[in-house]
């Protein structure tokens, strides 16, 4: 370990848990969905794209956000569901831009119908949001190689916090692993690039952990 490395703070592994709140807003047809989307908080938009990864639900392999799931399974509008499902929230740096993208797609769908499609009252779209509690795991990594070993052992909550939540929380929109590795100068640029290439959105957190772990493993196997 060189002298500079000693000055870098340890990577503190944290974890998180979510609890979900009702907003009282429910949409029974496409027009109501669009109208509510104008008004709901950014947290609500974030929840319906991201927080589902940490709540009790089945990770739908086809439709990755709640709007597309509802379009497919409740409205039975596969065309709309596909258009909504392909939205990758990581393409939008601002949640309002993401909100507007969804609204645009709904507007287009509404333009093409005489009457907005309705669902039964027990299949309405329920707008919800969440509160997040971040806590310590009492685990740390002193250097990138230790971090490699720790990632394989991390809980889904830790992966969510350090990789997904971080991109919203950090000013530079980067994940916590990359931001920490930058402290080591140019040495880990290649690893940071490889982490950056991981798409966090289209897989459950356990698969994301495997992917991150693999990137770290490959890097250290190749470079060292």
């Amino acid at each position: 370990m060189n002298e500079d490395m000693n000055k870098i703070d340890k990577f503190i592994i944290r974890d998180c848990a979510l609890v979900v709140l009702a907003t009282g807003k429910r949409a029974q047809n496409l027009r109501e969905l669009r109208d509510f989307l104008h008004d709901v908080s950014r947290e609500c938009i974030y929840y319906h794209f991201w927080s589902g990864l940490l709540r009790p639900r089945f990770q739908d392999p086809e439709y990755h956000n709640d709007f597309s799931v509802w379009a497919a399974h409740s409205l039975h509008d596969k065309e709309l569901a596909e258009k909504l499902a392909i939205i990758n929230p990581t393409d939008f740096s601002d949640l309002d831009d993401l909100r507007n993208e969804v609204i645009d797609i709904l507007e287009e769908a509404l333009d093409n119908v005489e009457y907005p499609p309705w669902v039964k009252s027990d299949a309405q779209f329920e707008f919800v949001k969440s509160q997040i509690v971040v806590f310590n795991t009492n685990r740390t990594a002193n250097n990138p190689e230790e971090l490699k070993d720790q990632i394989a052992e991390m809980s889904a909550g830790s992966i969510f916090f350090h990789f997904i939540d971080a991109q919203r929380r950090n000013e530079n929109s980067a994940d916590d692993f990359s931001n920490w590795l930058v402290n080591f100068g140019d040495e880990y640029q290649q690893l940071i690039r490889q982490i950056d290439e991981i798409d966090p959105y289209f897989a459950p957190l356990t698969k994301l952990r495997t992917e991150l772990s693999k990137v770290f493993e490959n890097y250290f196997n190749t470079v060292y």
Binding site: A17, A22, F58, D122, V133, V134
Partner: protein, 414 residues
């Protein structure tokens, strides 16, 4: 800390889940939590609290569990509340309300010291809900936990209850569709099953063999099972129709309908007779009327079945679905209520809307045993990750932080 029970849960939920709970709870150790409901024996709430309280204590929360009890008219009133929350048009008389308030006031007085010392008071369902009005200068955060499907309550009664619930700092419903608007934060926490309960614990093959012989079920032929009260909303006659349609193609299949009749449900007897009429003299249909505590029998029947049905046309959460899935069974469930978040087409089972749909899926699964087995395995893992009481507990701890931090969006614990 006695970790014995935690070790048992660790075997089912996974050691990482228990570790996660320990880390999450650390800053809460010593917190005083009081649960109040109406009974320690029988019913879903008592069942959940039974283990929840033990687990909370094991994890360092100073937890107590109290019950409210009263005279017969108190229970008549609270039963009416329960039915009204579920949407039945029942009225609650002034004299009943008077008894309800009096019982709550007396219980509040009896528990005053404990309630005033607590950090969190967790009130379950309507029976003890009005106690809050009789405890002045409350230090604790009071949470009302509604275990009932309140999606379409009978409004005149709900209006009265809502006035009481408005005193609380937060309320909790099981599904977003059950939640009602409140002047405080409304949390959503799904119910859960207990892997250590007699209903769900691992059984020996001899326990399963015993139900084959007791009910004259042929273990060599496929078994369809529905476990539910004899209630129109559970559509037991629809299940028989589905079985008959499937039997045309698969003559060797058997059907077991297992359930009890709720003592407060006069319609139960009528439905049971309809079911027996529909079953006729088919020796491959077994209509079983089981007592409410036949947990091991139900467990064994679920393990003996090849496919479990829950063909409800209206359902609250439907925890029998998670119970069957926990036993590696694919579930064919009605496309309604909480069944929708447990049954995912082609992954954990199938959602159906008609007896024809159910018959189609029975035929599909029995013709594809590999798919049937894979769906069963996925179903079990899905329950392990999402519907065990360890997840429920995690959400309760998160809720405690949320209410203690005045509901801010992000709570960073040092």
């Amino acid at each position: 800390m006695n970790h014995k029970i935690l070790e048992q849960y660790s075997e089912h939920a996974g050691p990482d889940v228990i570790e996660h709970l320990k880390q999450l709870v650390e800053p809460l150790i010593g917190l005083k939590v009081v649960h109040v409901n109406s009974t320690k024996l029988g019913g879903g709430v008592a069942e959940i609290l039974d283990k929840m309280v033990i687990l909370m204590r094991e994890l360092g929360i100073d937890t107590s569990w109290e019950v409210i009890s009263g005279e017969a008219e108190f229970y008549t009133c609270t039963k009416n509340f329960h039915n009204a929350i579920q949407g039945n048009r029942v009225n609650v008389s002034d004299s009943q309300l008077e008894v309800y308030e009096k019982t709550n006031a007396e219980t509040a007085e009896r528990l005053r010291d404990k309630l005033q010392e607590a950090d969190i008071v967790f009130i379950h369902d309507p029976q003890p809900a009005a106690m809050i009005k009789y405890i002045d200068s409350r230090k604790a955060k009071w949470i009302w936990r509604c275990h009932i499907d309140a999606s379409k309550p009978f409004r005149p009664v709900w209006k009265h209850l809502k006035n009481i619930i408005s005193y609380y700092d937060a309320s909790v419903f099981s599904l977003a569709s059950f939640a009602q608007r409140m002047p405080h934060p409304v949390y959503l926490i799904a119910p859960s099953i207990d892997p250590l309960h007699r209903k769900n614990m691992d059984l020996n093959q001899t326990d399963i063999d015993e139900v084959y012989s007791r009910f004259e079920i042929d273990p060599e032929r496929p078994i369809m099972l529905q476990v539910s009260r004899y209630d129109r909303f559970k559509d037991p006659v629809g299940v028989i129709l589905a079985y008959r349609l499937a039997k045309k193609m698969l003559p060797h299949i058997q059907l077991v309908l297992a359930g009890g009749g709720a003592s407060d449900d006069p319609e139960g007897e009528i439905i049971l007779n309809e079911v027996r009429m529909a079953a006729g003299d088919d020796p491959d249909i077994k209509v079983l009327l089981l007592p409410g505590d036949a947990h091991l029998t139900i467990n064994a029947l679920q393990r003996a079945a090849d496919i479990v049905l829950q063909k409800s046309i209206r359902e609250g959460f439907g925890l029998t679905v998670a119970e069957a899935m926990w036993k590696n069974k694919p579930v064919i469930g009605g496309d309604t209520g909480g069944i929708r978040i447990q049954v995912v087409n082609h992954h954990t089972g199938f959602l159906v809307n008609t007896p024809e749909g159910a018959a189609l899926r029975i035929r599909y699964l029995l013709s594809n045993p590999d798919i049937l087995n894979n769906i069963g395995k996925t179903a079990k893992e899905f329950v392990r990750e999402n519907f065990l009481n360890t997840r429920h507990l995690r959400e309760y701890f998160t809720l405690f932080y949320a209410v203690l931090h005045n509901n801010i969006e992000r709570i960073e614990l040092s």
